[in-house]
Each structure stands twice: as C-alpha cells, then as structure tokens.
Amino acid sequence: MLEYIVPATGLLFTLENILWINIGVFVGSVFAAIPGLSVILCVILFLPVTYTMTAIPGMMFLLGIYCAGGYGGSVSAILINTPGTPHAAATMLDGHPLSQQGRTKAALKIALYASTFGGVFSALMLLFLGPQVAKIAAQLGTPEYFMVCVFGLTIIAGVSGKSMIRGIISACLGLLIACIGSDPMTSYDRFTFGVSRLYLGLDLAVCLIGLFALVEILAKAEKRLDALHLDTRKIKDDGKITKSEYKRMIRPVLLSSLIGVMVGIIPGTGASEASWFSYSQAKNMSKHPEEFGHGSVEGIAAAESANNAVTGATLIPLLTLGIPGDGTVALMLSALMINGLNPGLSLFTTDGDIMYAIMLGLILVNIFMCIQGKFLTTLFAKVVSIPQEILTPVIVIFCFAGAYSVNNNYFDVGVALIFGALAWILRKLDMPPVPILLGLVLGKMTEPHFRRALLISNGDPAIFFSSIYCLIFLALIIVAVATIIRGKLNDQKKERAAAAAAANVHEEE
C-alpha cells in the first residue's frame, strides 16, 4: 500500500483536481439542497463533463458531487422542513425544529460537521480496510439482506409519533405503494390500474416532493397571512454550538459513522437506510430521548454522519469487487470504465496509484466540503428570511422542475401533486408521513429479498436463520424491539406518574 501512496499523492494534489473537487462540491451542495433534484440526477447531468477528463479529475468531480450531495439535502430539510434528498428526511425531524428555535446556523453547522466526520471516517475505512471489509460484505446474501430490511422496519416505532398503531398503518401504506409497478420477480404488473407509466413504479424522489414539500406549501393555509411574515430582526442566530452540545454529539456521531459504513458496504442499501438506522439507535441510546423530534442536536448529528459515512463505504465494493453499491456509484463505475479502468482487486496492482489517489481524494473532498460549507452556511441561513411571497412559489417551481427531471415527464409532476394532496389528508387525520417514506424506502428491498430467499430455499423459511450473519441481524432485531417496548413502557409509567401527580395537586387544592 505504502508504495502507492507517494505517487498517488503526486497524482492527486494538482490544481486541476482541487478545482474540480470544489466545483463538484458546490454543484452537489446546491443540487441536493433543492427538493426533487437528487444526487443521482446531478451525476447523470454532469457525467458527460467528465468524459473529456482523465480518471482522477473526473472521479474527483463526481465524488465532490456525491459527498456534498450527502450534506446538501440537509440544508432544505433544516430551512424549509423539506428534505432535499430522501436521505435527509431523518435530519428534518430535528433540524427544522432547531431552526424554528432561531438556531438555523447552528443546525446547519451541526449537519456540516457531522457530515464531514462521517465522510472522513468512511474514507479512512476505505483506505485502510477496504478489501477486508468487502470480502465480508460479499458473503451477505439474499436472506441477510432481508433481515437488514426487517431490522429497518423496527424503526417505524421510533418515528410513529404518539400512536404506534397509526405508524404501522402509515408504514403499510408506504410498503403497499412500493409494490406498484412491475413485479420484480415475475415482471407482471401490479396495481397499475391500466395506467401504462405506472409499471415503472413510483420514484422515491417524486413521492418525497409530494409528501414533504408540497404538503408544506398547502400548510401555509393553516397560518394567517400576517403570521407568515417572519420578523428576522428578532432572531439573533450566532450559530454557536456549546461545549456540552459538542460533547453530546460525540457518541452518536461515532456510532452513526460506523452504522453508515456497515450499511454502505452492503450493495443495494443506501444513505436513507443508514440515516434512519442511526437516528433510531441514537434516540434509543440518548440520555435525552424526549428531545428527539424537537430539535435534538444528537438527532441531526446521527442522521447526517450516517448518510455521509455511506459515501466512502459504497466505494468499497465498487473499487475492490467492481460491484456498485448504489445508483450514483454505478455511474462512477461508468466514468472509470470510459477511461479504460475496470474496477476490482486486480486494478490495485495494475493501477494502484490511481486507485489510492481516488481513495485519498475522498478525504480531500470531505475537507473541501467542510470549508465550502462554512462559507455557504451564512448564505443558506438567509433563506429563512426570504419573504414567503417569493419563497413559496420558488419552492413549488423547483419541486415541479425537479419532479419533471426525474424521468423527463409531466406524469411525475402529477404524481407529486397527488402525493401532496394525500399527505394533506393524512395530516388532517394525524397520520405520520415518515413511516410512509420508510415503507417506500424499504419496500423496494424487503419484498424482493423475502420472495427471492424463499425461492432459493424452495419455500423453507429456515433460510432466514441459516447463517451467522442472519443470527446476528436477528439478535439486533430482538434488541431493537426490546428497547422499543422498554421505551414505551417507561413513557406510559411517566405519563401515569404525571397524571397521578396532577391528581394529587388537584386534590390538595
């Protein structure tokens, strides 16, 4: 390894590379901050720019977009309660409440620092443990993937709000919506109602626009017109994060970075799953779980460090085994192939300097993301002071343009509108939208893995307990469920105690 580091450093530290990293980071941040404009869409649009470049600057540009995209989604989640990308949805739960408390800059900074830490952590994992970790990940098969999905579904309890039953109903709705389209196992259409475009299924980014962005626009109806004007003079947002807040963030950031790496190395899973897993774990392990959903710094830090820790981890199976971990990384694979590089372990010996330059570059990308982010935070924070008359239509136009761009079709804009109206009705019924999103994210993975595993075993469910990894995931599921039950029982006990105390006070009076 060391014999490649020196030439790799020489290849990496050029003005051209630094410039492309910064352009990539800027473009990625801006794209991801706009609802509907996903990171993958950004990479698709800018991929042709890399074809005139050699492998390293091309990859640096794409990695800049990819990593900054992981952070950029949190910007709109914090500022306008609309996640710019699906994986920033968990950040929204605490980021926006903290922003509403007048601490927009602090929320943005926490997201930035946590993202940077997660990104650098995963880059170091890629650099030092890449091939070893990839070999373990390669042993995970269909039943293990299914167990990961089941573990993911336990998060529903944590994001259901006051009523777990309503959360379960919402999650079932999300999982059912994920079934729309061609059956992945047979190619027969399901729930398409004769609408030809539905056989492609519903795109997650489009559903997200409706569920979170357009419903926020409709929610303007809940406030009086004069109440919509924010008096920014009253807000004294110095963006300071206290020492105790930094201290509280250490544990969730470390744990979430690890979770992010573990999720990222499993091909097919991604930043959304990682951020939810981490958010749930951080809540379960926090000394202040009651703050979650109300502006918890731990919540923001956990979600953001996890979704950025995925970035380096998805590159592990790509660079070592040639298996792209997600759609964006698959595009990077094509950028490498255009340059005549076919990733895999053999490339570490034939073009080791290029491989190590890319891996070292990932650390550099995260550092520049932090530097740019620090400057841009001030600009981004200004968004909250833009008058509603201007901001509202601008958000809608971005949402419509973003939804259209997914498949270059107005059908998707219509779908986003339907989801917006549906989310409004669900809001009226106090139904939490986050479990629907979780259902959409996990549904695309859960069902195919469940059915494929049973197809492999000819219907024998013992396949789900057939390997040590399955048993580890099973143990994690049991621990997660036990923690949830214990938490709920504690909540009930506290409620009863509070009710009894209130009754006593009443009697004394």
Binding site: G141, S187, S196, S334, N342, L379
Partner: protein, 321 residues
Amino acid sequence: MKKRLLSLSLATVMGLSLLAGCSSGGKESWKVTCPWAPSGVAAVVSQKAAEMSTKYSENTTLVAEAIQGDAATVNTWVADTEANDTELVFVGEGLLSITSILDPAKMQFTYEDFEYVENLYSSIFVLSADAELNVKTIADLEAYVEGTSEISVAVNGATGSEAFLAAALFGSMGAGDKVKLTPYQSAAEAAQAVAKGETSFAVSHQSQILETAQQGGVNVVCAFDEKAIEHGPFEGVEGVGEYGYPYFRNRCFVMARAGTDAEKVSALKDLYDQILADEEVVTWLQDTMLLEVDTMSKEDVEAHVENVKNIVNEYKDIVAG
C-alpha cells in the same frame, strides 16, 4: 462583510465555471436517448460514441442521454418525435423480440416506427457456474444436467435476455422442467449470486462476472455464441452454437424516427461506422467493456429480431410459467 464577500465570490466563480463547462458549440446535435440505466453498458458506450463524434464530424455532434424506463421511455420518444427530428433512440431485442411477445400492451410502437441507423455493439453473454460444482465445459454441463433434479440460474430481471438464454440452453438440453430461474434486480447482483452459492449458475455480460471469475469463485462454462470467445480474459470459452444449442447476442440498435431522410440516416451511419472503426474505441470495447464491434445491415437486424422471437416463442413457458 468580508465573509459575505468571500461567499458571494465563491458562488459566482462556481456558477460561471458550471456554465462554461456545460456550454455547447453551434453544430447540429443529435440527441441519443438510451432507455436503460445510465450506468449500464449501452449508456456507457453511447457516452463514448458521443465523446468520439467530435473527432469524426465537423457538423454533427452526438449527445448521449439516458432515461431509464425501457418501453415507457421509447413510447414517449415515439410519441414526441417525427421524421427528420434530430433525435435517436436505442432499442434492442429485449423490446423488439421479448416485450413484444410477452407484454405487447406495454409497447405503443412497432419496428416500423424506426429507421435503423447502426448497431452500437454486440455482447456475448456467458454462463458461469459455482466453482464447487466443478463444471468447466459444455460436456461437464451436459453431464451435470443429466444427473441433477434442479438447475438454479441467477438472471437479471424476470423476463430479460439472460432468462431466455438460460431457458433456451437448458430447455434444448431437455431439462426445461428442472430449470429454476432466480431473478435479481441488477446484473451485478445476479453475477454475484452464483459466487455466494445462492444459485448454481448465472447468465451475465462478461464484464460483470470478470472480477468474481478472476478470484476463483466461479467457472465460466460457455458463451452464448456460435463459436468460442476470441478476445479478452475469457478467450477460448466454448460457444453453445458449436453444440447446436440456441443462442443470441445482446445488441443495441441506434434508431432514427421512421421517415427521416435517407441521406441523414446514411450520414449518421457513416459517423457511427467511423467511430466504431476507431482503434481506440475497438480496443476499449474489447478490453474494458468486453464487447465487440459488430456493424450490421438492416437485413441482419431483422434476422436477429426474428431469431430471438423464435427463441422467446419456444421457451416462454419456462420463463413466464
């Protein structure tokens, strides 16, 4: 104030660089729509062709675009274009020969809606086997098929080209009732499945199984072609055609809208032919993508479509149940 100025200047520089990077010249540009994954083989080759188009033509530029959606994307393309529009689209045997038979309702177009330009590449699929089975040649495979009660094969998609190739091979060996096709959501996943021992065999593009084969997890048994593979890391792997089994190559046809002037189509074909004859492209296709340059006439294309249709009609019961 200083910070604000710095932020603003940073944003301006980035914005300008972006615009500069995206600007295009004044040439006539033909948009080439790929209806499959932007990271897939067809999209990557299309990007390469687009990159090379500037080298071979002063007045025509190819602009590659990938809109994943298969038949839906082509439906939209056909609906939105008319003769002589500067738009091209990819179609392959998957749409023209498989979807047209299994699920014609998904297609709002026929072969007649297109004007054939050129075939972009030709890919020879390979069958790989779990190394533990010790199946290395077609003779080994025949012996294995004879003595087993179940043949599990990992394929990309439930009714894709890979599924039909597996069905045709094992069906023609008289083992159609033993075949269990296990569909995966991507070609990479399907190729990995056999190395993990989830299935006994996998059908994939050569590039997708290369790394696993090099690490010794799988044996590449045969190629779905007339003869043995002639180039690359799988050189010498037997072709199923040598044993009389059915096969087809995966191809990607560049199409213009029907009615487009013959001169324009001919100029485009010339441009593609020049690009595909470029030594750099040929080497890149062979060594990196493990594909072949395979320029075809309209008659060849129609014969290919018919051949695949015949295979689909004969083996659809094994695939679709």
